[in-house]
């Protein structure tokens, strides 16, 4: 009696051991099949396919962003800021108005550029096709991409000439819009509201410190800075100012912000002007 029982026990154990990986694979497979794996992306003339990026996502992204794209990868607890939750379909770096979905090119640029002062590295060693495919894979996590249209990129007027009047006007905008409340009067991220800021998931978040020489997350050029405050950084307390300032005022603000940064590739002229004007920090009473 004991021998048949032992045989059947061993058989059952073997069946369970062999079946478990298959079952878990089946669950993941069901999830994948049910969840928009047919998603495509379009960047320039290239088309990306989510299903072609599954292995790359597993290799490069899953440790932080998690297998479900919810930002709960096994390393997420150790890193700050936390990885993006792709299920929400909310992204900081966009060329589109606040509240709307970014374009595929926006996501492609973020993947290639990385996000400074975070654990998101620049993935530009990956091939263009790999990154386009990964854009499609990122999109497939959120239903927003099937229920909403992507936003239309904002129009950015040509950058005007940098003049002392524009730098001074930019300082006035900085004061009027009360940027100093978060970023501080000298751009040191030590404004009176800085310590109270939280993101859309109620996690503490710091404003950008212009004085430490770091690159803004969404790009370093003047156009990138313009785009940041005219589209806002969705998911963070940084709003869009598109309804509050005119395009020429936005350019003035760009020039003034450059004076707060240490010397870099982009701000030599602005810093010279600030020196000539003897610019002082804005007053907190403004």
């Amino acid at each position: 009696m004991r021998t048949p029982l032992l045989k059947w026990s061993l058989l059952t154990s073997a069946a369970v051991i062999f079946a478990l990986p298959g079952l878990s694979r089946a669950q993941i497979t069901m999830y994948e099949e049910n969840q928009r794996l047919g998603m495509e992306s379009h960047v320039g003339t290239m088309t990306g396919h989510a299903k072609d990026a599954a292995m790359d996502y597993r290799r490069y992204c899953v440790g932080c962003h998690g297998p479900l794209g919810d930002g709960n990868g096994e390393n997420a607890m150790w890193i700050d800021p936390k990885p993006r939750d792709f299920e929400l379909g909310i992204f900081k770096c966009r060329s589109t108005p606040t509240g709307t979905l970014p374009t595929d090119s926006d996501l492609f640029d973020t993947i290639g550029r990385g996000l400074d002062r975070s654990n998101m590295p620049p993935w530009n060693p990956l091939s263009t096709q790999q990154r386009v495919d990964l854009v499609a894979y990122v999109k497939h996590f959120s239903p927003r991409w099937t229920t909403e249209k992507q936003g239309t990129p904002i129009q950015i007027p040509a950058e005007p000439e940098i003049t002392p009047d524009r730098v001074k006007a930019g300082q006035d905008v900085f004061a009027k819009m009360q940027c100093w409340k978060c970023h501080g009067v000298t751009g040191k991220a030590n404004g009176p509201s800085a310590s109270t800021l939280t993101d859309d998931q109620n996690r503490p978040i710091l404003p950008f410190n212009f004085t430490e020489g770091a690159r803004p997350k969404c790009g370093s050029t003047d156009v990138d800075l313009y785009r940041i405050f005219m589209t806002g950084l969705d998911g963070t307390p940084m709003p869009s100012f598109a309804d509050n300032i005119k395009p020429e005022e936005a350019w003035d603000l760009v020039f003034y912000l450059r004076t707060l940064e240490p010397e870099n590739t982009y701000n030599h002229k602005e810093r010279e002007i600030a020196k000539q004007l003897g610019l002082k920090p804005v007053s907190q009473s403004q």
Partner: protein, 433 residues
């Protein structure tokens, strides 16, 4: 135990080794620092992918303003240990023995063993100042320094100016230090260490880490890479060098090939001088007493090619040693040793957890130092295949179930002057943490 029970036990064991799980990898110290899985940098550890190569070329930095050690938890320690307990079988078809009536016989040995230990420490001392220190022991625990170097990265804010000094692997894009095969016969690339018969030049082995200073420049996305190194011609040995120098130059270009992936092609050259004799005291060579420097060269092409899950690493070499390096007897007219060789290594990366490996190698003498010997004396053919399975993958440690077979034939090197064939079989647990 009945036959049925034996079969079932075997199935259970097989199931244990093949059960799905998370993924596995390389310098876990780097993975711990950045919160990335090891698979982000390694095609299959320890072999680098393009992202990992860029990380290395940036001085072990992601260039995300978080590379300076001040951003790390105080408890973080940039150290990794790697070792491989294993079972292996070594066989040589013709070994000289006293017991054999013909003076030679086949010798085969097998059993459990352990590899040497690598202690890898590396990373940043400060932003754009990086280091690598690798004390390494053989299987008896005798240590040496495999790598010791510090590097100034991105000088003048440019990825084109990086200066490294110390002991380091020369800039081979197909790196032997990250080889996927580790058996006695298969644990190195033949052409990286080839020394012709009747040739004493040990200083041209591009697979050995060397002492020197290296400039490396690369584009921001690491697609274009160039390097030039000035090396002491002492084959990476410490203490007094030999007053001879060589240079190692490399350049490569990677390009996207659409759905196929990113391909890289390049060339390398090691040219220099090395001593052909030594000052002696009591008949023993004096350290640093090298004399009679003569020239040598190793030049070739290399490439890494991807076709979906397959990738091919190709290296060729044309080598030449001055006749003065020869050990030809007095009265014979020595010639330059000249040879050509290379290898093709193929990987099928089923997933970051499972990689199949195959390598074919060859070296062919085109001119012997000794004109009286057979033209193919010392020619080498080698064949290696195996696979590595990583049952888990995370950012903390790596473990690979390693299986490998390697076969090498050297023409005319058996004691009786016929071909010598050796083979290795290895099953091991290759782990690092």
């Amino acid at each position: 135990m009945t036959s049925f029970q034996r079969i079932l036990a075997g199935c259970l064991l097989l199931a244990f080794f093949t059960a799905a799980g998370p993924n596995a990898n390389a310098l876990p110290a780097f993975a711990r620092k950045y919160g990335l899985r090891c698979s982000a940098c390694h095609e299959s550890w320890p072999m680098l992918n393009y992202f990992g190569q860029k990380f290395k070329d940036n001085g072990y930095q992601l260039m995300n303003d978080r590379d300076s050690p001040i951003w790390q938890n105080n408890g973080y320690w940039p150290v990794t240990f790697r070792i491989t307990p294993n079972w292996h079988r070594e066989s040589s078809d013709k070994t000289a023995t006293d017991q054999s009536p013909t003076g030679e016989q086949q010798v085969t040995a097998n059993g459990f063993d352990v590899s040497g230990l690598d202690i890898l420490t590396g990373g940043t001392l400060e932003k754009n100042i990086s280091f690598l220190l690798v004390p390494s022991s053989d299987e008896t625990g005798a240590f040496h320094f495999e790598s010791v170097n510090a590097r100034l990265d991105n000088l003048f804010g440019s990825s084109w100016v990086n200066i490294k000094m110390g002991k380091f692997e020369v800039d081979n894009i197909v790196s032997e230090k990250r080889i996927l095969t580790i058996s006695e016969n298969g644990g190195g690339f033949e052409i990286y260490h080839f020394i012709p018969v009747n040739d004493s030049n040990i200083y041209g082995q591009i697979g050995d880490n060397q002492f020197g200073v290296e400039w490396l420049g690369h584009s921001v996305n690491d697609r274009t890479r160039v390097s030039a190194a000035l090396l002491s011609s002492n084959d990476g040995n410490v203490d007094l060098p030999n007053n001879a120098y060589s240079g190692f130059f490399a350049a490569s270009q990677a390009f996207d090939a659409g759905k196929l992936g990113t391909q890289r092609v390049g060339f390398y050259a090691m040219v220099g001088q090395a001593p052909t004799s030594f000052l002696t005291s009591g008949g023993i060579p004096i350290e640093g007493g090298g004399l009679g420097n003569k020239s040598f060269s190793r030049v070739g092409f290399n490439g890494i090619f991807y076709v979906g899950k397959l990738d091919f690493q190709v290296v060729t070499q044309h080598g030449s040693d001055n006749a003065a390096f020869s050990t030809v007897s007095a009265g014979e007219t020595a010639r330059n040793s000249v040879w050509n060789g290379g290898f093709v290594e193929t990987h099928y990366v089923y997933s970051p957890q499972l990689v199949f490996i195959q390598r074919s190698e060859w070296v062919r003498m085109s001119q012997q130092a000794d004109p009286t010997v057979a033209s193919n004396l010392g020619d080498v053919d080698a064949y290696t295949f195996g696979y590595r399975y990583n049952p888990f993958m995370n950012a903390r440690a790596g473990f690979a179930f390693h299986n490998e077979y390697s076969w090498v034939r050297a023409r005319g090197l058996a004691p009786d002057g016929t071909d010598l064939t050796t083979s290795s079989v290895m099953l091991g647990f290759d782990f690092d943490f």
